[in-house]
Subunit: 250 residues, 2 copies
Amino acid sequence: MRVFDFDRVSKLSPAVPRERTEASPCAACTVRGMTICAPLDNQELAQVSAIMTSVELTSGEPLFDEGEEAGNVYNVTSGTVKVYKLLPDGRRQVTGFLFPGDFVGLARQETYAFSAEAVTPCLLCRFPRSKLENLMQRMPKIEQRLLNIASNELVAAQEQMLLLGRKTAREKIASFLLMLSKRARQRGQADDPVMVPMSRTDIGDYLGLTTETVSRSFTQLKQDGVIQLLPNHQVKLAQREALEDIAGGF
Amino acid sequence: MRVFDFDRVSKLSPAVPRERTEASPCAACTVRGMTICAPLDNQELAQVSAIMTSVELTSGEPLFDEGEEAGNVYNVTSGTVKVYKLLPDGRRQVTGFLFPGDFVGLARQETYAFSAEAVTPCLLCRFPRSKLENLMQRMPKIEQRLLNIASNELVAAQEQMLLLGRKTAREKIASFLLMLSKRARQRGQADDPVMVPMSRTDIGDYLGLTTETVSRSFTQLKQDGVIQLLPNHQVKLAQREALEDIAGGF
DNA sequence: CCATGTCGTTGATCCACGTCAAAACAGCCG
DNA sequence: CGGCTGTTTTGACGTGGATCAACGACATGG
């Protein structure tokens, strides 16, 4: 596929708390290093924060639906969001999970190409698309950042196609757990007992499986001693090496 | 997923032959309207064409391999290219087919995230990445165009995930034929007897199926009178409406 | 025009995962 | 603490597509 990256500005770095003295709500943002705001200086940040509003979602609350007019873009600051597409008969494909620092954007059309919904209670930054576009005219750094984000997503999308088209249920679950672990680490969070906040149904819809098969694959990996299922939606990666071999198709 | 589009510059338009008088090889480019070069004026085009070299590939010839250093990006000007990822045991996922006007780019890493190979004899424009980056500094229009391209690809990637994760073999084949038809139309080519230049194996690797299942699904659609299999890799969409219903999961 | 390799089609069988059903469990509130 | 509700797990069974195996249909070159 045709991924690209001309971003020389900023590499993805673990989020570190920032302490600032200005009044901007972005000043204390703990995930700025991973967001669209990463390359901005304080003055630019103030301009961006001026058009931003906060959004709070409870578990299961929709953010927007596929086909709706795409008026806003978002940045997740806390919680987990899922984005998905539906077939007319209700079959669902979750195309991604979004964590703090992740960007929820939109298609080139004037309508969203997918639905987005909170998996856990969430906090997001909302930017009206038109206003952000104006801002981008004056700040090409944002455009570069977006291209960089899009490139990363494209690489991830291809990886997911390989998973969906060619991996077994066991391999899919192993890959999924490692993906969660890696992304938690990138956010500066614990990467070993991995938080798995989403339901079996959501996982199945993400991996192209049923809940029953997801559950059975977890059980099987547990019985093989590769993982341990802990309380509170946590999973211990008891044998990370083995899990990586399974995920990679060895 | 987090797609985005801030491109107000150029909408995708059917490729029309252009007649120009300058010496630039791009002057006569028949697919310029769809490429990265679309928004450029003649003077800019000359600068871009100065760093461009032509590449010719025979059927089955590799363009580059996953993991290789990503030194160049390409634009397909004629022929069909496939891009794919492999698992260690040889399982293959074709993540895309590229036609004239399509861009073959790269990941944010310094290495390609996938392999690319000619399906038919091909002609491509090659751009050294570093030189194009320099050019982009001076021509933000190219950057905007790339973001636009990346956004479109992200939408397509999500559609493909829905297909891979949730559609039946029959629905996959129907969707595939309609995709080929639509893209041919966008290029200004015949969209009804649709050209299907790739092998059953390639189609299977794109749709997450085996060659046998691809063949059986074609036969089934033919027997249902929805399509006709013509010589020379062509397929007639005898009942486009019905095909669209099947593809959409109705 | 036939020999030869590649690709596509068809048939028979198998199995990973889906489906259907029910039990076990986990929150949650009264 | 116990009943209620939704989620996860487990079990029994069915099936769509994979696998294995011929066979037919083209292209290509001698």
